[in-house]
């Protein structure tokens, strides 16, 4: 997986100066590949009962739309304006101050003016004005109103699937206009006439059927975990428990399916298994709810709800007390901001309480689901696990805040606290690129495909650039993150913009540092890479930026 253009060549194509032509007069060229995704497969679309399943592709002349597609979308828009105050308000109050313009990673990486969040939203707003406001009806283009033509629809498809719903623009907007919300609803509208992408629809259909995006069936799930158990045994000499679909366990653990199937996610999985074993945690995995992520949230509120419903249903069936969730980004946006409203309140569960420290997670007392980094930070604070941070001395880390936990939750300190306790070398990227101002990996919200590679590299450019900065100045050699999509796509971004830096998970580092009762002397880390021995320990270069524990 790599792009033909070299980074500096790609960089040179970026021009923040917009074209002469009015934005309503420019269109999308689907002939040029590399910056959009292919259409949803009819089987997947049909499997989750979504409208208009058919074979089609964006680069084809005929999108095989229903005859009354405009009517369907406008009716859908009318309905959603009445259902969502956010939408109604965001259609009305933007003053086009432009503060959001250069906050979007896709704009920074492409210079395409329609990737300025304000114009992305105007694509929808212009239609809203034309249909729902008098000024728009009377004055048209002058006040930014245009009819919903096929050409406009093409732009909707192109640009609403060129937004990763990262919400960075929303942090800077003086009115809190949230492009993620606008994109969310625009995609929902397009879905009404069968306009969607396969990398969203097929995982969603898989998840509906098998419980996870990758379509792994129950026996495959068991195999994967057993494989991980064997690997972990080789590294630590300890054979961990593997409770799956175990009724009456105290805690249900749910994590993205990529954790047990992808790399470098897998090393984080080994970290979880080691940690839970060491704690003798009474927990269980579930094959039915074997997916933390929710690609339904990239389709519509409807599909998001149906997929998310498995969490509470499975917790109830298994009779657990509360739910613990693994490292993921949009998964946590859904859990934190939607799950309780969509499928709760889960009164059959108990307020989460750490069986190890006794800490009651008051911040999750209604939704009853705790983030693994909250759980682990609490363990470390209470000194309930033994750690040897020097086992991570071959790493010098920086931390990538994933968009959703950062801006849809505010989970900023917990991972940093853990990292600083399990490793000795840690340097932050510049302030404008972390925490609430963090940059997206460029592939979130279902855009992480091969066919979309150029746009992903463009969107990943701000992040790659910040990583390069700490690589060159501080000797950083691993980018830690807590998101399955990040782990899947940042390696490509980093290889392209900042080669020589690896990508890993926070709990991978925990697993490396964790001293397990009865373990053999560790020769390697969880990646099977040899550890730096104390006697041969070379000082990892550029330790100046290191922050104290």
């Amino acid at each position: 997986m790599s792009l033909k253009q070299k980074p500096d060549e790609l960089f040179k194509t970026i021009d923040f100066k917009p074209p002469k032509k009015h934005w309503m007069d420019t269109t999308v060229d689907f002939e040029k590949r590399g910056s959009y995704n292919y259409a949803g497969s009819p089987d997947s679309v049909a499997y989750i009962n979504q409208p208009n399943p058919r074979k089609w592709q964006p680069y084809e002349e005929d999108w095989k739309l229903p005859d009354n597609w405009q009517e369907i979308i406008l009716e859908g828009l009318r309905e959603r304006i009445k259902k969502f105050r956010s939408l109604q308000l965001f259609m009305d109050i933007c003053v086009r101050c432009g503060a959001c313009a250069d906050k979007c990673h896709f704009f920074i990486g492409s210079g395409d003016p329609k990737n300025m969040p304000v114009l992305r939203a105007e694509l929808l707003r212009s239609v809203y004005r034309k249909e729902f406001t008098k000024a728009g009806k009377l004055m048209g283009k002058m006040v930014g109103a245009q009819e919903l033509t096929f050409d406009v629809l093409k732009q909707w498809f192109y640009y609403f699937y060129q937004c990763t719903q990262c919400r960075r623009c929303s942090v800077f907007c003086p009115y809190g206009i949230d492009t993620a919300e606008i994109t969310f609803l625009a995609r929902e509208l397009m879905n009404l006439i069968g306009i969607n992408i396969d990398w969203v629809m097929t995982p969603a259909a898989n998840c509906h059927r098998t419980g996870n995006h990758l379509g792994i069936q129950p026996h495959g799930f068991v195999d994967s975990l057993e494989f991980a158990r064997d690997d972990l045994e080789d590294i630590t000499g300890i054979r961990v428990d593997l409770p799956i679909n175990k009724k009456g366990a105290e805690i249900l653990f749910i994590t993205p399916s990529a954790d047990y199937f992808g790399e470098p996610h897998y090393f984080t999985l080994l970290g979880y298994l080691a940690l839970f074993h060491e704690l003798q945690l009474d927990y269980t995995w579930s094959t039915y709810a074997s997916e933390g992520g929710n690609f339904g949230s990239f389709v519509s509120h409807e599909v998001m709800k149906a997929l998310n419903a498995k969490f509470y249903a499975e917790a109830k069936r298994l009779g657990v007390k509360w739910i613990l969730g693994g490292e993921c980004g949009h998964m946590w946006r859904v859990i934190h901001q939607y799950m309780n409203t969509l499928n709760g309140p889960p009164d059959f569960l108990e307020i989460p309480k750490s069986p190890i420290t006794g800490t009651v997670f008051e911040n999750a007392k209604s939704a009853k689901m705790v983030h693994i980094s909250e759980f682990t930070a609490d363990l470390i604070k209470h000194k309930k696990i033994k750690l040897d941070p020097s086992r991570n001395d071959h790493w010098h880390a920086t931390f990538h805040d994933s968009c959703n936990p950062a801006r849809g939750m505010g989970l900023l300190e917990e991972p940093r606290y853990i990292i600083k306790n399990v490793m000795n070398n840690f340097t932050e990227m510049p302030d404008s690129c972390i925490r609430e101002q963090t940059f997206c990996c460029g592939s979130g919200a279902g855009l992480g495909t091969e066919e979309n590679l150029e746009m992903r590299m463009r969107g990943g450019m701000p992040r790659g650039n910040a990583v390069k900065y700490v690589r060159d100045n501080n000797g950083v050699n691993i980018l830690l993150c807590m998101c399955a999509i990040d782990k899947a796509t940042l390696p490509g971004v980093v290889d392209y913009w900042s080669p020589g830096v690896e990508v890993g998970g926070v709990h991978e580092m925990v697993g490396n540092a964790l001293i397990m009762t009865g373990e053999k002397e560790r020769e390697t880390d969880l990646r099977n890479q040899p550890l730096l021995k104390p006697d041969t320990l070379e000082k990892v270069q550029g330790n100046e930026g290191k922050e104290g524990k």
């Binding site: 259902k83 939408l87 003053v95 432009g98 003016p113 690129c433 701000p462």
Partner: protein, 351 residues
């Protein structure tokens, strides 16, 4: 296009006002009928608009979090940028409305040599935006001198503060100058910042030009052209006390332009983006506490079956499909396998 249209529109409005001033017979139209109409449209329009917004429910609590959330007791929460209580939300909103907290974060991305990007701080938009809004508010409040009798107590204080430096005769009000300077900046920014120019519409230029015209005519009347303030006040008080009077002939045409444009502003306000004034208070990403996992948020249409058509694929359906495989993998089952297990059970079934 939008710019030219707006300039012409403002010019036409000014000509209308001059005509109104020149034809005595039209004076009651400009000083009586129009103001009542404008005030009515403004009040009704704003209420209708806000009610329309308020009528749409807030189905999900989608706070944009801009700081550390409330979690473990020993982790310091950022209570203003990520509030978890009503008090925190009030604080966040106050910062947002009074000081434009979000805009204060503004940065400017610049492409540098090689493949570098730099993000510089840029506070100009924030500074001039704030200058405009505060100046406008204070200028508006100072105008109570002209339409309230007796003059409210705060007017004196504001005038003293505003004329603090005691420059010139009559004393120069800082906010008057601030208003015009800020508006000029905002206007020029729309013309000279290529990105902002690209997104600007007539509905962006027009209100700026309108406000510039209002501020300019106001300043002209205060510092350069003598107007009969007593007569003007009689008109204003007459309107607000519902005893409108025919304006005295001594009132300057500048007043007619100023006053007419203010009426246009009132009429234009509720149907324009200027409604952001009310909208900012309702913005769900800002005015909701980030307590999603702590407190249940109800969605009034959560049971809308037409909207949520897709139902959860149940565990029973799942086990029915995979029972044989699950048994083979040693997983516990809800129901026992009844028939002889088929070897090719891994094949995807037709749905």
């Amino acid at each position: 296009m939008g710019l030219l249209f707006s300039i012409i529109a403002i010019a036409v409005l000014i000509i209308l006002a001059i005509a109104g001033a020149a034809i005595p017979g039209l004076h009651p139209v400009f000083t009586v009928a129009l103001p009542y109409l404008a005030i009515a449209i403004f009040i009704v329009g704003v209420i209708v608009r806000v009610l329309k917004w308020a009528k749409s429910p807030v189905p999900f609590r989608i706070t944009t979090t801009s700081g550390q959330e409330k979690s473990l007791p020993w982790i310091k929460q950022n209570k203003l940028d990520n509030p978890s209580s009503s008090l925190g939300v009030i604080g966040r909103m106050a910062l947002e409305v009074l000081f434009f907290r979000s805009l204060f974060r503004n940065t400017k991305a610049e492409l540098k040599e090689g493949t570098k990007i730099a993000y510089g701080e840029t506070k100009w938009l924030w500074a001039f935006g704030l200058l405009f809004h505060w100046s406008f508010l204070i200028v508006f409040l100072r105008h109570f001198r002209f339409f309230a009798d007796p003059i409210p107590f705060f007017v004196k204080y504001l005038e003293t503060l505003d004329g603090f430096f005691q420059i010139g005769v009559p004393i120069v009000y800082l906010t008057g100058i601030g208003l015009l300077v800020a508006l000029t900046y905002l206007f020029l920014r729309r013309i000279f910042d290529a990105k902002v120019k690209y997104i600007s519409l007539a509905s962006d230029y027009f209100p700026l030009l309108l406000l510039i015209a209002i501020a300019t005519t106001g300043i002209i009347m205060r510092y350069y052209v003598k107007t009969d303030l007593v007569a003007i006040k009689q008109v204003a008080v007459g309107i607000l006390s519902f005893h409108p009077i025919t304006p005295a002939e001594t009132i300057s045409p500048w007043f007619y332009i100023h006053f007419f444009l203010v009426n246009v502003l009132l009429i234009y306000f509720p149907m324009s983006k200027l409604m952001h004034m009310g909208g900012v208070f309702l913005s769900p990403t800002r005015n909701l506490a980030n307590n999603n996992r702590m407190a249940y948020h109800e969605n009034p249409w959560i049971n809308d079956e037409n909207y949520f058509k897709l139902h959860r694929h149940t565990y029973e359906e799942y086990e029915d499909e995979f029972r044989v495989l699950m048994k083979g993998a040693g997983l516990p089952l809800e129901k026992e396998v009844v028939n002889q297990p088929a070897k090719d059970g891994t094949e995807k079934e037709d749905k």
